[in-house]
């Protein structure tokens, strides 16, 4: 029988939640790396026993952990992230130039076909790559060459938080950075171009045609329709039908178009999920009601999913890497909150229940579907 394994990165360690295909009874293991911030864990699509974790600390810096047995044991691998050449500068909050400084790995994206090949999105924003299972890392500097001097940190830092691989075109990859925007490469990371046409950030960018500087929070793709992309921007939910060449807004009837997560149904490329969050400064669900919104029409028309989610006095946030969707039928949807809850829906969002309620603040959620 199929099973699922949910990886939860938190402010104080990593947790692994496992269940059979019914996804009713859960086993919780952890914390791994207790006391450290775990920004992200992810398994290799080519070998589900191979996992990677970004373990980080303001005190002790960056550690990358690797598991070869599905998370039962771990070993630290290379943690040397050095920018290529002279790092240069990017824009600082006050508009001055500021030296590029490595702080942490936000996101780890294993390649689709080689468990030793992995990408890391880091703060200050850059893309690194390893081809030896994490032992050594090298920057793909073409990304920062894309007007990197104009990139500016968002409130949470200048992080490369989203890496999406196109399964149909080897070499095509997307990255998203707060607050620089979305970018695409068609040559495996050597050269990049901004793909921000159609984005409007009138409160942050006076130039309506600005190529970079947009605060993109997340991008999602259905692997069966890789030219269709969905985006949760700082404000606005958007869609592109041409691999990011042009975006248009699909916020429709959402109670607010601000939020962090966005993801796509495993089997329905036009079914999209977001969690609207009140902002700019409050960053909790509108009216204290935690609602996932689902569109079955690729955006514009959204339905609130509330069954099993708290509908009063709920003031948590759902961060950008904290939603995931399994591949079972019906697909399961998972998300974690800054209040330490991880919610699961085994029926594509119709009904929800918490797997755990009292973890440290959740930074990321990933899921593996196991045969």
């Amino acid at each position: 029988m199929s099973s699922v394994r949910v990886f939860v990165g938190t402010r104080k360690g990593a947790f692994i939640l496992t269940a059979d295909g019914k996804r009713k009874q859960w086993r919780v293991s952890g914390p791994q790396f207790a006391g450290w911030e775990i920004y992200h864990l992810k398994g290799s699509p080519a070998d589900p026993t191979r996992l990677y974790a970004s373990q980080t600390s303001d005190w002790f810096g960056q550690v990358v952990q690797r598991s070869n047995d599905g998370g039962q044991t771990w070993e630290p691998v290379g943690n040397k992230f050095v920018y290529d050449g002279t790092p240069g500068t990017h824009q600082w909050y006050d508009g001055t130039q500021h030296p590029w400084e490595f702080k942490r790995v936000w996101h780890l994206e294993p390649s689709l076909d080689d468990p030793d090949h992995l990408f890391a999105g880091v703060e200050d924003a850059a893309l690194f790559e390893t081809r030896d299972g994490g032992a050594t890392w090298s920057e793909l500097p073409g990304l920062r060459a894309t007007k990197g001097n104009l990139w500016q940190p968002g409130a949470g830092g200048l992080g490369l938080h989203t890496i999406v691989l196109d399964p149909s075109r080897p070499g095509r990859m997307y990255g998203a950075i707060s607050a620089a925007g979305a970018f695409r490469t068609d040559d495996a990371g050597s050269t990049w171009r901004p793909i921000n046409r159609g984005l409007h950030s009138q409160f942050e960018l006076p130039d309506p045609d600005a190529e970079v500087g947009h605060c993109v929070h997340r991008i999602a793709m259905h692997p069966g329709r890789p030219d269709v992309l969905y985006m949760q921007k700082h404000w606005d939910v958007l869609r592109s039908d041409d691999a990011g060449d042009l975006w248009h807004e699909v916020s429709g009837n959402l109670p607010t178009d601000f939020g962090f997560v966005i993801d796509v149904h495993a089997h329905e490329p036009e079914t999209v999920y977001v969690v609207p969050i009140k902002s700019d400064s409050e960053h909790y669900p509108p009216e204290g009601k935690l609602r996932v919104y689902r569109s079955r029409s690729g955006g514009d028309e959204w339905q609130a999913l509330t069954d099993g989610l708290p509908q009063q006095d709920c003031y948590v946030n759902v961060l950008r890497d904290a939603m995931a969707i399994d591949r079972l039928e019906p697909c399961g949807v998972y998300f974690g909150t800054t209040g330490g809850q991880v919610y699961a829906s085994p029926d594509s969002g119709d009904h929800w229940s918490p797997i755990v309620r009292d973890l440290p603040a959740v930074l990321s959620v990933e899921v593996q579907t196991l045969p």
Binding site: D58, F60, K80
Partner: protein
């Protein structure tokens, strides 16, 4: 042998249960001690000092013989009681954060 006491998180990372004992070539300096620590436990590279600049990470301090050695340079000689193994060299995490 020079004795080094690490913060708990770094002991866990390096899979150590107590003090570290290190052989450091004379003259024993702060920089040579940290070089020896990283050579013996490569997993600690980058966790105490920056990989490239070798600067101490901001939220760590160095103490020995009731002296704060955090701001001393790599060539600073270690106190004699540390060199003789009578006193430990301590790497301490700042008491801050949540």
């Amino acid at each position: 042998m020079i004795r080094v006491i690490l913060p708990a998180h770094l002991r866990t990372l390096a899979r150590l249960s107590g003090e570290v004992a290190l052989e450091v070539k004379a003259p024993a300096t702060l920089g040579r001690l940290l070089d020896a620590l990283e050579a013996a436990y490569p997993v600690l590279e980058g966790t105490v000092r920056d990989h490239t600049s070798k600067e101490r990470r901001a939220f760590l301090r160095y103490f020995a013989c009731k002296q704060d050695l955090s701001l001393e340079g790599a060539d600073h000689p270690l106190p004699e009681p540390v060199v003789r193994g009578e006193e430990p060299f301590r790497i301490v995490g700042a008491l801050a954060g949540g």
